[in-house]
Structures are given as structure tokens and as C-alpha cells.
Symmetry: C2
Subunit: 337 residues, 2 copies
Amino acid sequence: MKKHQTTIIDIAKELGISKSTVSRALTGHPSVHEQTRDKVLQLANELEYQRNMFSIGLMKRASRTLGIIVPEFSRSFFPQLIIGAQERAKEAGYNLIISQSDESYETEVSNARVMLAHQVDGLLISITRETNNFDHLKLFQRKGIPIVFFNRVCDEMIVPKVIVEDYEGAFAAVEHLIARGKRKIAHLSGPESLSICKRRKAGYTAALAKHNIAFDEDLVVHYDLAINKVKFYINYFLNLKERPDAIFCINDPTAIEAIQLIKKTGLAIPGDIAVIGFSNDFASSIIEPALTTVEQPIKEMGRTATQLLLDQIDRDVANWKAPTVVLKTQLIVRDSS
Amino acid sequence: MKKHQTTIIDIAKELGISKSTVSRALTGHPSVHEQTRDKVLQLANELEYQRNMFSIGLMKRASRTLGIIVPEFSRSFFPQLIIGAQERAKEAGYNLIISQSDESYETEVSNARVMLAHQVDGLLISITRETNNFDHLKLFQRKGIPIVFFNRVCDEMIVPKVIVEDYEGAFAAVEHLIARGKRKIAHLSGPESLSICKRRKAGYTAALAKHNIAFDEDLVVHYDLAINKVKFYINYFLNLKERPDAIFCINDPTAIEAIQLIKKTGLAIPGDIAVIGFSNDFASSIIEPALTTVEQPIKEMGRTATQLLLDQIDRDVANWKAPTVVLKTQLIVRDSS
DNA sequence: CTGTTAGCGCTTTCAT
DNA sequence: ATGAAAGCGCTAACAG
């Protein structure tokens, strides 16, 4: 199958007028005779003319395309976020190229390369759990292509970021556990390299402090978010001399896995051990007992990140102060606590 | 922020050689002096040169980009499928532009337009539950851009398709229910317009027939897949004079919703009513009782569809017989039946 | 092995 | 209101 594209030249030839006039008519330029424009538009329609993005891109040095790189999308979080981003992009007349890095640093670098090759006008990114080096992203800055981080952000780069109230959310979750009478509250956290984990842990610690509960090193564990390893850490918690009476998990998939594991041991949730997650993923209301969790506005995060990106693209900003937008979180109390 | 692109011309000038030589060196053309090539490659690297897809696309009339349009991706099915598609595309040196039509025909048409504007070399698509008119897709054929349907296919277009053994899967599911002693088996199906639903229904009907169970019109309901309407149909089933003792649902989200609703009424699953889904989504092993379902090879479907698309792109086929690939399904028996 | 030339399809001056 | 011409960055002939 060979593609045949209807071009402006075809239309011009057919109508016996110049290419430039056709171009003007097609782009809605005012200085075109109405009759001429109508004729052009009609013929273009008949021939199913489609503007060639390559030549336009070549001329304008802009693709009107944004890129988004997410670490994974097997769980509902990132797909939902992408829906928000896509909505906002579309409203603004931009398209979105999506790619997922599968929690692999290498793939992330390769995806970034693809985005560059596709001449995206801007990049949205949430980094993998492995990403420690940011050269591939700094390259965008050097090339003058704006970046916005969301969810998992990079602290060392000064660009706009969208995060949620991780600290406050974690604080509220732990305070809620305390209100339920729990005192030995464990925290199953993610990689220490992710700032999101640091903030949630800080909220956890602060809530304990406020209520005069001693911070116990043994009750906090960091893991790499590989879901199949959760069993190891849950076992660890359950076998402690003084078993924790609650576990605050870094995210919903972790919490859901934890619940399934704990149920198998015969322990009662939340009686023996309460469990709390973070994010309010779809599955959290399905599991039994239904998961108490900290809801974050996922779609909104996608929209906001996209907006911040558009702001940078439109504005011709030399010393633009990169904002960090912090979205609200809300504790959803269900049956697991 | 204004983009500055390093171009081949920059490199040529810097090195005092011709653009074509630079181009040849960069594209790995054999007829370039090794020294020259090394110099070019090194400088390109230093200057962080990035090929401009626009000019290449303009020249080659190909974008090395595939498009994929899915009806939604809030559930895990399509994201997983996309992962498979992306894998295969990447292996073949293609990029993938993803868009989701939100189960809206209008959005699907608009997304198709976007794909066209982006000059995709081929399109993968699973239609929305609303799509009855296929003009927007036939346009691709007219333009010589290959299409492959997957999952939700269009019967009236003769293009490659990837589906699963819907009939066989449904047959196995219903036969399993019969083996469990169920006799009044209901079927909550999707829109009659989707061939996928027709095939599953046919499997259902055939299994009943094989075991001499009369087909009961009242036990089959079609709905539009809007998940919040499931309660209406479940209620209908539960209030029938002779309540069904099993429900075969068109997909896992429907089945999961059904289980939640049935549990609220106090009926026992599977004792009073067994429930079976289709697809083996992530959530199906989380719900309690765990959902019996027909597993389909989701990632594989994405890979296969992509391969069929690549086949069409590479081959210069006038009268290429469009294949329909049918992937295996497998019944996963869990606790809901 | 390397350079020259001529476009790909479009927009954008600059004329008229 | 329209046309002519130049060129975006690259590659593919065709020469040497």
C-alpha cells in the first residue's frame, strides 16, 4: 500500500490558482476572496485533504505535540492521570504522545530520546523508581524544551512540578490510626530516593510525634515497589516480637497486597492489624475489607501538569519562577482501619 | 524559551565537509571514510545533535510512527494491551501514539483525525461501544494507511483483525457452570452491535443447547457497558420469578460489580448464584469471592495486532488477504463458581 | 569516497 | 486579493 497525499499543489492546479492562495484559504487568512476561499475549502473537503504535519513542523519548528512519560501503567493511577493530561492538551489544541518506561531507567532514557526525535513541544514526566541521573532530562532544558514533573519529581531540577499533599495526607492517615487506638504503627515505604516517599514518611513521623508515640526504627521499612516483594516485608512485620497493630502503606497496590497476605494468616483486619494505603485506586474499594486510603486528585494532577507545561510554552519567559503546585489529599475511611 | 536545533549543516560547516557526507555518516551509510565518520559522530554527540523527524518524514513520506486508539483505559485491559503493542512497535523501530476515545464515537472520529494529521504509518483500533459508522476509518484505507482492528472489531471492513476465542471461552465458562449443577444460567451481555458480544452470546447459547437446557429469552440482557447500570440488570435478574442460579457476565468489570451487588443482598456466591466474568483483569483475583473468568492473552493481543500492522506496512500488497487472528482463551476457575 | 543539485509540502516575505 | 520565490532540514539522485 502506498500512501497518496492530496497536497495544496493538487488543489491549486485543479483550481488554476497559486499555492499561496490555497494555503491562505486553508489557514483562514482574512485576505482571501470569499469565493476563492469557498472553492478551495470545498475541493479540499472533496479530496479529503489533510495538512502535512511534517512540512508545517519543518516551517514552524513546533509540533503542537506534548510528550508524557510515566513509569508504568498496569495500575489505574497513571492511566487516569493521562486521561486528565490528554483532556487539557486537547483543549489547548495539542496532541499527546504517551510512553511508559516500565520502571526501568534505561527505558526512560530511551523514551526521552523518542520524545526528542518526535520534536515534542514539551514534556511531562514522572520518573521511575530507579532514576537517579537526570542528564537525559537536562538535555531538554538545554534544547529549550520545557519540562514539568508530576507525582514522582526530581528535586535537583528547577522546573515546575505537581505533587499532592503527601505530608498532610500521611499525617491525617496516621492520626486516624491513632484515634482508632493503634499505637504500634508500621510504615511500609517506597525507595528513599523518591521525594514522594520522604514526604509521606515525614507525615507519618510527625503524626507519631504529635501524639507522643516514640518513633521506632524497626517499624519503618523501605522497599523498591516491586509488588511481589511485599510478602517479605509483611512477614517481617508480623514476626516482630511486638507485632504492629497497624500498617501505613506507601500506596494502594502495596496495601492491597498487604491485606491479602494478612488475611491468609488469619489475623483480623482492622482488629489485629489495620491497613491504610495512599491514592484511592479503583481496586481499593473492591478488596475486603475495603481499604482506608488517602485520596489524591489523579486526573486533576494530569490537567494541572499539562497546564504548567502550556504556560511555559506560551510564555516567552527568561526568568520564570518554576512553581510547585501542591494538590489536596483527603482521607477516605473504609473498613480496613 | 526558544528551541535551538543542531542541524547537519552546523556539523558540516564546523568540520568543513559537505552536508551529504555528514548525512551519510549519521545514517551509517557504508561508503564513508572511517575517519570522517568518526569525526562526524563525535561532533554530533558533543553538540547533542538530534535528527529532525519533520524533514525526514517529509522526504520519506513515512513517520515510523503507529497510532493506537482504544475506547477507554480506566480499567486494566487496554493499558496492558498497549504495553504489548508498544513493545512490538519499539522492537521494529516504530513509535506509538496512543489515544483513548472515552467510549465516545465523536472522540473516536476526532482521534482518528489526529492520527491522520500525525501521519501515522498505520493504525490500531478497538472501537467504542457507540461506533456504527466507519467512514473515519475507511478514510485511512482510501489514503492507503493500513489498519488493524483488535478486540472490538468492525465486521464490515476487510482488514486484519485480532480477536480471541470468544465463542470457545464463553462455551467453556457456561459448560463449567453446568458441571457445577447450575441450570438457570443468565447472561449479562454488552451492546449487540459489538461482534465480541455476539460471539460470546453464541458460545453461551451453544453450551446450553449441548446440555439440553432450554434457552430462556428472559435470562439474556444486553446493556451498554456503562458500569453504573449493572445494578439495574442484576436487580432484574434477582427479582425474576425463577431466580437464575448463575450469571455469565460479558467482562470482568461487569462481573465484579455484579458480585458486589449480589453480596449486598445476602445471597451466597457461588451457592445461590455463581458469577463468571471474561478477561481475567487484575481486580478479578482481588474481589471476594475471587472471580472465575475466561482469561485472554491481553499483551499478546497487542503484540499480534502490531505485527499484523507492520506486515501490511512492509509488504507491497495489492491483493493481500486480510487475516483474522484468533488467540486462545482459558477458563480460570476461582471461588465465584 | 565525497560534493552538487534538486526537491519533499508548506508558509512566508515581498511584490504586484 | 493574489502570485512568485525562498527556504525550513534532510536525503537521494547524479556526478565526479
